[in-house]
C-alpha cells in the first residue's frame, strides 16, 4: 500500500509538471492552431534562469525562501519574454502562410534555443540547488513524499485555479476564448487579436517556467536537453486530453503521469518513454480528438 501511494504521488508530481507545460501547448494551439515546438525550450530556459539567479543570490548570502521566490519570479519574466519574442519573430510573420511553414519555423526555433543554451552553458548536467527546504511536518511520511512534491502539487493547483479564473472571468480571458473560437469575428467586436496572441504566449511561457523551476529543484539537476523530453511528453499529454482544451491538458497530464509512474513501478522501468508514446497511439486510435477534445465536426 505504501508502495502504491509512493507511485501515486510520484505520478501526480510528473503529471503536475506535464500539466504546467501542456497548458502552453494547448492554449497556443487553441488560439492559432500551431504546435509551438519551442515551448519545451521555454521551460528549460526557465529552469536555467532560476539556476543562475539562485547561484548569484546564494553567493550574496540570501536565505532559501527569498532565493526561490526571486529566482522563480525572474525565471517567469525571462521565459515570458522569450515566449513573446519567439511569437513575434518566428510565428507572426507566417500567420497567413501555409500551416507547415509555421510548424517548421517552430522546430527551427526549438533547435536554435537548445543549441544556444548548449553553447552558452554546457552539455553536462549541472547541479541545481535544493531550494525547497524539507518540511518538518512531513518527516513521518518521508518514505513516500518529499516536501518538494508537496510544493509542486500546491503550486500547480494554484496556477490551475488562477488560470481558470483568468479565462472565465477576466476581460482578456473572454477575449482569449472568443479569439480561439473565431479570430475574424473577435476582431470585428473590437478585440486586438495580436495582443491576445501575445498574452497567450506570455501566460503559457510563464506556467512552463514555473514547471521548469519546480522540477529542477525537485530533481536537483538540469541540462539543455530537459526541455525536449519534457516538452514532447507534455505535448503528448495535451493531445491525450484533447489539444485546445485546458481541462483536457490537465487531465491528459495526470493520466500520463500516473500511467508512467505505475508502469515503471510495477512493470519495468526500461521502456518508460516508449510507453508514453505507445499510450498516445492507443488513445488516439480510440478517441482521435483526445479525452476531452471536441471533434472537428462539432466546430461551426
Amino acid at each position: 500500500m505504501e508502495y502504491f501511494l509512493e507511485l501515486f504521488l510520484g505520478g501526480l508530481t510528473r503529471g503536475s509538471i506535464y500539466a504546467l507545460i501542456a497548458l502552453g501547448y494547448t492554449m497556443v494551439y487553441g488560439i492559432i492552431e500551431l504546435i509551438n515546438f519551442a515551448h519545451g525550450e521555454i521551460y528549460m530556459i526557465g529552469a536555467f534562469t532560476a539556476l543562475i539567479v539562485s547561484g548569484v543570490l546564494t553567493l550574496l548570502g540570501w536565505n532559501a525562501l527569498a532565493i526561490i521566490v526571486i529566482a522563480s519570479i525572474v525565471a517567469v519574466i525571462y521565459s515570458a519574454a522569450y515566449g513573446y519574442t519567439i511569437e513575434k519573430i518566428a510565428y507572426k510573420p507566417l500567420r497567413n502562410a501555409p500551416r507547415l511553414s509555421a510548424l517548421i519555423s517552430a522546430i527551427g526555433m526549438s533547435l536554435f534555443l537548445q543549441n544556444y543554451v548548449l553553447l552558452a552553458q554546457t552539455s553536462d548536467f549541472l547541479p541545481f540547488p535544493e531550494l525547497i527546504p524539507e518540511f518538518g511536518f512531513l518527516e513521518p511520511y518521508s518514505n513516500f513524499i518529499r516536501s518538494s512534491e508537496l510544493v509542486i502539487f500546491a503550486v500547480t493547483a494554484a496556477v490551475m485555479l488562477g488560470l481558470t479564473f483568468l479565462i472565465k472571468f477576466t476581460r482578456i480571458g473572454k477575449a482569449m476564448r472568443a479569439t480561439a473560437q473565431d479570430k475574424m469575428m473577435a476582431s470585428l467586436v473590437g478585440i486586438d487579436v495580436n495582443r491576445v496572441i501575445s498574452v497567450t504566449f506570455i501566460v503559457g511561457s510563464a506556467t512552463a517556467a514555473i514547471g521548469g523551476v519546480l522540477i529542477a529543484s525537485h530533481i536537483g539537476q538540469l541540462n539543455y536537453y530537459i526541455g525536449f523530453i519534457a516538452g514532447i511528453k507534455a505535448f503528448v499529454a495535451a493531445v491525450l486530453g484533447g489539444i485546445g482544451s485546458i481541462p483536457g491538458a490537465v487531465l491528459g497530464s495526470l493520466v500520463l503521469g500516473w500511467t508512467e509512474s505505475f508502469f515503471t513501478g510495477y512493470v519495468s522501468s526500461d521502456y518508460e518513454d516508449v510507453f508514453a508514446f505507445l499510450f498516445l497511439v492507443l488513445i488516439l486510435i480510440f478517441r482521435p480528438a483526445g479525452i476531452l477534445g471536441r471533434s472537428e465536426t462539432e466546430k461551426v
Binding site: 473572454k174 477575449a175 476564448r177 473565431d182 473577435a186 476582431s187 467586436v189 473590437g190 486586438d192 487579436v193
Partner: protein, 235 residues
C-alpha cells in the same frame, strides 16, 4: 458619414473590388445588392479592415480609416453583422452579447442595452444561458444583430441578415432594421440578396456587378427600374 473612393481590394492575386465609390450619409439606410460573387461582402470587409484595400480611400466621419486594424475601426463606432452570423459557438448568448460590448466599460448602460435587446428579441432572454452554437439559424441571426448593437455603433454594417430564414423571421428582421434606424438614428449599410425587401426598407441603393458599382439611385427608383426588376426582383 462613410465614403469609399475608388476602393480596390484583393484576395491574393484575385481582384474582388475594381474601384468602388459609395457614400452613406448619417441616419440613412442604404442597401447594396448584387449577384453572388459580386463583391458585396468584400466591400463590408474592406470597410472593417479585415480585407484592407490595396488602393483607394475609405473615410469615416471625414477621417481616413483604410489601413487601420479592425479593432481600431470598431472603436470608432462601426460594427458588422457578418455573413453567416459567426456566433461564438461555445459562448453563451449572454457572453456573446458581452463580447459585442467588448470596448465599452459602462456597466450600467450595458445592462440597459441588454434589457432593450431582450425586449426586441424575447427569445434571446429565454436562451440567455444556452451556448450560441446550439441556437437555430433565426435565433443566431437575432443574436448576431444584437451583438453588433451592443457596441452602440454609429454605423451598422449588415451582410445578408435574411439569408436562410423563414418568411416570418425575415419580416421581423426587416422591421427591426427600420426600428434601429428610426429609434437610435443608427446609420445602416445593408447588403442583401433579398433585393425587394431591402429596397423597401432602404432610402438609397447601390447595385454591384463583378467588383464594380453599376448603378445607384433612390430605393424607390430602383424598385421601379425595369432592369433591376428583371435581374434582381425576378419580375
Amino acid at each position: 458619414m462613410l465614403e469609399l473612393r475608388n476602393v480596390k481590394s484583393y484576395y491574393g492575386n484575385i481582384q474582388a473590388l475594381k474601384g468602388i465609390d459609395i457614400r452613406v450619409s448619417e441616419g440613412e439606410i442604404i442597401t447594396l445588392i448584387g449577384a453572388n460573387g459580386a463583391g458585396k461582402s468584400t466591400t463590408l470587409m474592406s470597410v472593417c479592415g479585415v480585407v484592407p484595400p490595396r488602393s483607394g480611400e475609405i473615410l469615416f466621419m471625414g477621417e481616413p480609416i483604410h489601413g487601420m486594424s479592425p479593432n481600431q475601426i470598431v472603436s470608432l463606432g462601426i460594427s458588422q453583422v457578418p455573413e453567416g452570423r459567426r456566433i461564438f459557438p461555445y459562448l453563451t448568448v449572454m457572453e456573446n452579447l458581452d463580447m459585442g460590448a467588448f470596448l465599452r466599460n459602462d456597466r450600467v448602460s450595458i445592462r440597459e442595452d441588454i434589457d432593450y435587446i431582450f425586449e426586441l428579441f424575447p427569445i434571446l432572454a429565454e436562451r440567455r444561458n444556452q451556448a450560441g452554437g446550439t441556437l437555430s439559424g433565426g435565433e443566431q441571426q437575432m443574436l448576431a444583430i444584437s451583438r453588433a448593437l451592443m457596441a452602440r455603433p454609429r454605423l451598422l454594417l449588415m451582410d445578408e441578415p435574411s439569408l436562410g430564414l423563414a418568411p416570418l423571421v425575415v419580416k421581423r428582421i426587416f422591421e427591426i432594421i427600420r426600428k434601429i434606424n428610426e429609434e437610435n438614428n443608427t446609420t445602416i449599410f445593408l447588403v442583401e440578396q433579398n433585393a425587394n425587401q431591402a429596397l423597401k426598407v432602404a432610402h438609397r441603393g447601390y447595385v454591384m456587378e463583378t467588383g464594380r458599382v453599376t448603378m445607384s439611385d433612390t430605393a424607390d427608383n430602383l424598385l421601379t427600374n425595369e432592369g433591376i426588376r428583371k435581374a434582381y426582383l425576378g419580375m
